[in-house]
């Protein structure tokens, strides 16, 4: 390929070089635009309601809302405690099982949880801890003497314990897999493992070795995912809606109710509430970073004090216990979910249903066609767009020869760090301003904001690991950059692309708030139906919806896992 500088680069190269800017605009503009259009109504400027003056009425209404203080406290406590628990358990599991085959086994057991949408996970947890749930059925009546379900407190307990439990169980696998992803990076992973071994040889207990040697290098790479978890936990709506109290609910849930109220004037208050949510989440993020700095400042000397042992055996046993509990809890929840979906009469305290029937599936299937169709179409379109865009950006990175800057990596996390409840409302205002009929497009676009980061992150490491010599050889044989991309690089990336596609579909399937808001309630997906049904009439029907919700992404991942095996087998022959 003899391309002289004065020849214009071909169309492909131009598209590729332009794509990172497009990506940035796509992520920044909606989030910023959304934030601005929530800021203006919060201060009273809402042309849609013919209010054109700036005032603090929204905030004073917010302030006068009964229970506003408790809403904020509930959001803060559930967000912080669940993230802290998930983070600490992740570290303990990593420390106990570092360099042990158990780490991979735990990963295999937990990774399916990652694809379970939050709503389905919440439904499953609810089945387990309810007064008539699996736990109390297993203990009744032989131990407890309960013939009727007891007057319990879960779910919907006032302290948010159910929410914390649900969030911790859901976020733990995410953080663990993120950490394992970091350790799977060839150079860094190898270096850390070697250093760990050296520490062991110097007589450090395995757990101490992990905390003193591995963690300081691991944490900086875990920081953004952890912050994303914290932001999500403090501002999500599915978990508190299904597991949380309602007198009053968490702040995010209350804002959602205000925003979807028939009384449009409540939207001013909702906007003010969204700003408060932003403040709460921002405060929590700052608190986390501050806490991290404090710990670093006060405890860094412990790294070099030479102490080898901090009761490692005890902690290791405790970790084993917690891990077993977590896994047992998840398995029990899933068993309960499956049993409910096929249960006939199942009176408390029987541990098993009286009979098994398929009628719940049949009835649900008859009504499910439209939500299923919507879920799949939105998921496929969104994921396809996200993958194309992510691939183009990564190609741009290779063509220009430099990695994306820190700024861009931060921007990619933007939709995950800014509470969606805050900017989504603004975004919906904007979308309605532009065109209030194209709900389907709005939903796809909004999903893209949340799918794109995951798809991008999932493709990045594989793309950067591509051996550049293949591309160089192809280029030296006269292949255009476009063909190098299509015929040399993409085939090598087959498996990662499928994984990214499955991940993208899973993320899109699980979106509740974006679908609800951007679709104006008119576009129903499996997830919106599942959340609506979760507190409704029939455990059996909501179990069916939760199972379908889990099955969709699982099918995607199984395909992503099987297809490359088949193709590589045939290609190797």
């Amino acid at each position: 390929m003899s391309m002289t500088p004065n020849i214009k680069p071909d169309l492909f190269t131009r598209i590729v070089k332009f794509s990172p800017r497009f990506l940035l605009a796509l992520l920044i503009l909606p989030v910023l635009g959304g934030l601005i259009s929530v800021l203006l109504p919060a201060f009273g400027w809402a042309p849609a309601l013919s209010q054109y003056s700036f005032n603090l009425q929204g905030f004073s209404e917010l302030w006068l809302t009964p229970g506003i203080g408790k809403m904020v406290i509930l959001s803060i406590v559930t967000g912080l405690v669940s993230t802290l628990l998930a983070f600490v358990i992740t570290l303990m599991i990593l420390a106990s099982f570092f360099n042990s085959p158990w780490l991979n086994r735990i990963q295999h057991l937990l990774s399916p949880i990652l694809v379970i949408p939050h709503a389905a996970a919440a439904i499953a947890v609810g089945f387990l801890i309810a007064p008539s749930g699996m736990f109390s059925r297993l203990l009744s009546p032989w131990l407890t003497g309960w013939e009727l379900a007891p007057n319990g407190m879960f779910p919907h307990d006032p302290y948010g314990i159910s929410i914390i439990l649900g969030l911790t169980l859901k976020e733990l696998p995410f953080l663990l897999l993120m950490a394992l992803g970091v350790l799977a990076q060839p150079e860094l992973g190898k270096k850390l493992r070697q250093q760990h071994k050296v520490a062991l040889n110097l007589g450090y207990c395995p757990m101490t070795a992990f905390f003193k040697v591995v963690l300081p290098s691991l944490y900086p790479l875990l920081k953004l995912p952890t912050l994303a978890v914290l932001a999500y936990a403090s501002a999500n709506v599915e978990m508190p809606l299904i597991l949380g109290p309602n007198t009053p609910p968490t702040l995010a849930v209350a804002i959602m109710h205000w925003f979807s109220d028939v009384d449009l004037n409540l939207r001013i208050k909702a906007s003010a509430g969204a700003l408060l949510q932003l403040l709460v989440t921002g405060g929590l993020l700052a608190l986390w970073v501050g806490g991290e700095k404090t710990i670093k400042h006060f405890f860094s000397h412990l790294l070099t004090n030479g102490e080898r042992e901090y009761g490692g055996v005890f902690w290791q046993k405790l970790t084993g216990l917690i891990t077993a509990l977590v896994i047992g809890f998840i398995i029990l929840a899933l068993i309960g979910l499956v049993m409910w979906s096929v249960a006939g009469f199942w009176r408390f305290p029987a541990a098993m249903p009286d009979q098994f029937v398929l009628s719940h599936f049949q009835n649900a299937m008859m009504q499910m066609s439209e939500p299923l169709f919507n879920s799949l179409v939105i998921g496929v379109i969104t994921t396809a767009l996200a993958i194309i865009l992510a691939l183009l950006c990564l190609e741009a990175e290779q063509l220009t020869g430099k990695n994306v800057s820190r700024f861009i990596s931060l921007v990619i996390y933007l939709p995950l760090l800014v509470p969606s409840i805050a900017f989504l409302f603004g975004l919906v205002w904007l979308q309605q301003l532009i065109n209030n009929q194209a709900t389907f497009t709005h939903v796809v676009f909004t999903h893209l904001l949340f799918v794109l980061p995951y798809v991008f992150l999932s493709l990045t490491s594989s793309y950067r690991r591509l051996d550049p010599r293949f591309a160089h050889v192809a280029a030296s044989l006269g292949t255009t950059p476009g063909n190098v991309f299509l015929k040399v690089k993409l085939p090598q990336l087959f498996a990662p692309i499928l994984i990214a596609a499955a991940l993208g579909l899973a993320i899109s399937f699980g979106q509740y708030l974006p679908t609800l808001l951007a679709g104006g309630g008119r576009i129903s997906t499996i997830t919106t139906e599942a959340v609506t049904l979760a507190n409704g009439a029939s455990r059996r029907t909501s179990a069916v919806y939760a199972i379908i919700q889990m099955a969709l992404p699982l099918i995607g991942f199984i395909l992503a896992w099987i297809l490359p095996k088949y193709f590589f087998k045939s290609a190797r022959r």
Partner: protein, 453 residues
């Protein structure tokens, strides 16, 4: 094999792309499968020139309509049995009058109200999207107040005579507001209770409560086994209205009369005080100590299935046996009506002033009021909704249509509603709601914080 070789050749070069297509086409295949049963989509309404605004007996006699109009019936769609009944009615009017009746399923009737209101403010006065709407109470009050309904047609329907309107105020007044021919009666609903007879076994200290007073005492003896959906849920509000009306049974006539007047600040305090006193006694004995309430009647039903609650209530009695048949409630469920009265109301169908097909909509309303349709609706296995027709106005053949079969053991026994209580004025809903929110809306965390400290 040549086929596999060819496939390999193809895939070796482009297999990334090919595989991606395979992958996506698999999904498209799945979603096509999902789509086909749903492909019968409603075609858009073809508006024909509106003829006379009311139909007469003669025009009913005339055969099928020539133009095959589409009538969009906006009706709450939360109950499978009711939806099936509307489908049955659609088939009937198709055969009889050549009308395509489309059921637009609402989760809340106020959606239809705001739609018509929006159309009015947008100047759409003739081609509205709502032709017929299932309505009563506060929604009717709003629509009639804003003149959003076609007046003076329902009283001219040929089948209206079967309701004996002269002696039957239930079909000419909706929550105390005169209907003025703006809506045709469709059915009657009453607040009925259901219980788990394994949990309330009728033993000496576990007798079934049949009055509000007994309910309070029973709940005190069996704490946590009863509750009501959190207002503004319709069913929760209905329970509060039942309590309010019963509590005023023995009050001074002057105070009692206030229930049929518009609520204002002065009479609110007077009328509602007994209700708050009652709830202050009741709440500590409720499920979750009255600090957390369920969101809906549907959730309440699930809690009965979970055996957390032993007693619950509904406005649609037939949903109880239907739920037992679906396994959503245990077999030990029995229905009954309170002896001190059942809060009852009539539900209606109305035509918005800007309906595209007012004439065809009236034909549908007339059909819904026919002895045939009313009898079918009253059949427990179909819907079980009480007919608005007074049997004495019917011929013996028509009366025979209403004969009942053996009911399901969980269904409300026939004629068990001995005493009906009429709804208070719609404005009381807002007054009760505001008072409830400020008293009980945010109890929970305050109590728990005291507990913490």
């Amino acid at each position: 094999m040549p086929l596999t070789r060819c496939w390999q050749l193809n895939t070796r070069h482009r297999f990334g792309i090919v595989a991606f297509f395979v992958y996506t086409s698999l999904f498209i295949f799945v979603l096509c499968c999902a789509f086909w049963p749903n492909s019968v989509l409603a075609s858009s309404a073809v508006s024909t020139s509106a003829l006379s605004t009311s139909i007469t007996a003669e025009s009913i006699e005339s055969k099928k309509l020539d133009e095959n109009p589409n009538v969009y019936f906006y009706a709450w769609g939360g109950d499978a049995q009711i939806n099936a009944y509307i489908q049955w009615a659609a088939k009937q009017v198709q055969a009889k009058y050549n009308i395509n009746l489309h059921h637009v399923k609402l989760s809340d009737t106020s959606e239809a109200v705001s739609r018509v209101l929006a159309e009015k403010s947008a100047g759409n006065n003739h081609k509205g999207s709502v032709d017929l709407v299932w309505i009563n109470g506060a929604n009717f009050a709003t629509m009639s107040e804003h003149s959003l309904l076609l007046p003076n047609w329902a009283n001219k329907l040929p089948n209206f005579k079967y309701t004996d309107p002269k002696n039957n105020p239930a079909v000419t007044f909706d929550f105390g507001i005169p209907t003025k021919g703006m809506e045709a009666p469709w059915g009657q609903a009453s607040l009925t209770f259901y219980y788990d007879n394994l949990a309330i076994d009728g033993s000496a200290n576990n007798q079934l409560p049949t009055t509000l007073d007994q309910l309070l005492k029973w709940s005190a003896k069996h704490p946590g086994r009863f509750s009501y959906p959190k207002p503004p849920d319709y069913l929760g509000m209905s329970f509060l209205k039942y309590a309010l009306v019963v509590l005023h049974e023995k009050s001074d006539e002057k105070i009692k009369a206030q229930l049929n007047q518009v609520a204002n600040e002065q009479n609110s305090k007077l009328v509602l005080t007994p209700l708050w006193d009652f709830l202050n006694q009741l709440h500590p004995t409720l499920w979750r100590h009255g600090q957390h309430f369920m969101q809906s009647g549907a959730q309440m039903r699930r809690l009965v299935d979970d055996t957390e609650l032993s007693l619950a209530f509904t406005f649609s009695a037939p949903e109880v046996p239907a739920a037992v048949q679906r396994f959503d409630l245990p077999k030990s469920i029995r229905s009954y009506a309170m002896e001190d009265g059942s809060l009852s109301n009539t539900h209606f169908v109305a035509i918005p002033y800007n309906a595209s097909q007012p004439k065809a909509a009236q034909l549908v309303a007339n059909f819904l009021l026919s002895p045939e349709a009313q009898a079918h609706k009253q059949t427990p296995s179909v819907w079980g909704d009480k007919s608005v027709i007074i049997p004495t106005t019917l011929s013996p053949e028509q009366q025979a249509l209403f004969k009942t079969q053996t009911p399901h053991p969980s269904a409300l026994p026939f004629n068990s509603i001995k005493r009906t209580l009429s709804e208070p004025h719609p404005s009381w809903v807002e007054a009760i709601l505001t008072g409830w929110q400020s008293r009980y809306g945010v109890r929970l965390l305050e109590a728990s914080n005291e507990h913490d400290s």
